[in-house]
């Protein structure tokens, strides 16, 4: 996977979640994703940015244009400084929640993208990387 230009968006409050959504929308439009793909990307970004804020005490989102031999894609990396996820497999199950939500954030956003990866370390934080290919 080859990397292109990138941009970092801080996630420190709920207005930043809105800003993160707007940035992802802007990039997805520039890369000429279809409206449905734009909507899926922005929705996944909203879920993951909120997770970083609520469970991870905030952090940042890195937007990056990537390409492999066949196509272009948009990669989003969410990094937080939270307590980490104890059981990643459980966290991905629909309905699993430690907060007050519906437990759709992680599992749901996984369904909205093509590639999905979680790295989490206790006490250090969590990094979620997603890619949607065109």
């Amino acid at each position: 996977m080859k990397s292109g230009r990138q941009e970092t968006v801080p996630i420190g409050n709920s207005a930043d979640v809105v800003l993160a959504r707007q940035k992802v929308r802007q990039w997805a439009i520039e890369m000429k994703f279809t409206l449905v793909d734009q909507t899926k990307l922005v929705t996944a970004a909203s879920e993951l940015a909120r997770n970083a804020l609520e469970h991870g005490k905030g952090g940042q989102m890195i937007i990056e244009q990537v390409e492999n031999s066949a196509k272009n894609g948009l990669k989003l990396v969410f990094e937080d400084r939270g307590p980490g996820i104890k059981d990643v497999e459980a966290a991905l199950r629909d309905g699993f929640t430690t907060g007050g939500g519906m437990g759709l954030g992680l599992g749901g956003s996984k369904r909205l993208v093509n590639d999905f990866e979680i790295q989490s370390e206790a006490g250090k934080g969590t990094r979620v990387t997603v890619v949607r290919w065109k």
Binding site: R21, V36, T39, V42, E47, G101, M102, L104
Partner: protein, 126 residues
């Protein structure tokens, strides 16, 4: 504080969401709506989301909560105008909005509300 306006039309309440909602604004709307329903004895709520570019699990939960709270207060809720791309994404995300009535546009949403709860003639003669 920023708020989403709630319009009163006879026995119904109308809300048009025209901003990219942050989470606190969504919670505020939920509180304001239940307050108004009880204060004005409203029988129905119509929420127009045609300008919303996404509905994520938080906004989806808010819509479901409003419908549930309104029902407990003896009012029906109809959500109208969801964009097709939003509907596709919402279902893939895992939310079917079960328990929330929907209509394609404001006009059919109002018709549905009248069918469900309305008493058009008594309102006209008031």
């Amino acid at each position: 504080m920023e708020r989403i306006p709630i319009l009163r039309m006879g026995q119904f309440l109308l809300v048009t969401i025209q901003v990219d909602m942050h989470d606190r604004l969504a919670v505020q709307l939920q509180d304001d709506l239940t307050q108004r329903i009880s204060e004005w004895s409203s029988r129905g709520v119509l929420i127009d989301i045609s300008t919303l570019e996404i509905v994520d699990s938080f906004i989806g939960r808010m819509l479901a909560n409003i419908a549930a709270m309104a029902r407990v207060l003896d009012a029906e809720t109809v959500v109208v105008g969801m964009q097709p791309a939003v509907a596709i994404t919402l279902v893939e995300l895992g939310m079917s909005l079960a328990g929330v009535r929907t209509a394609l546009n404001v006009e059919s949403g109002m018709e549905l509300l009248y069918e469900l709860r309305g008493d058009f003639h008594s309102e006209m003669s008031e």
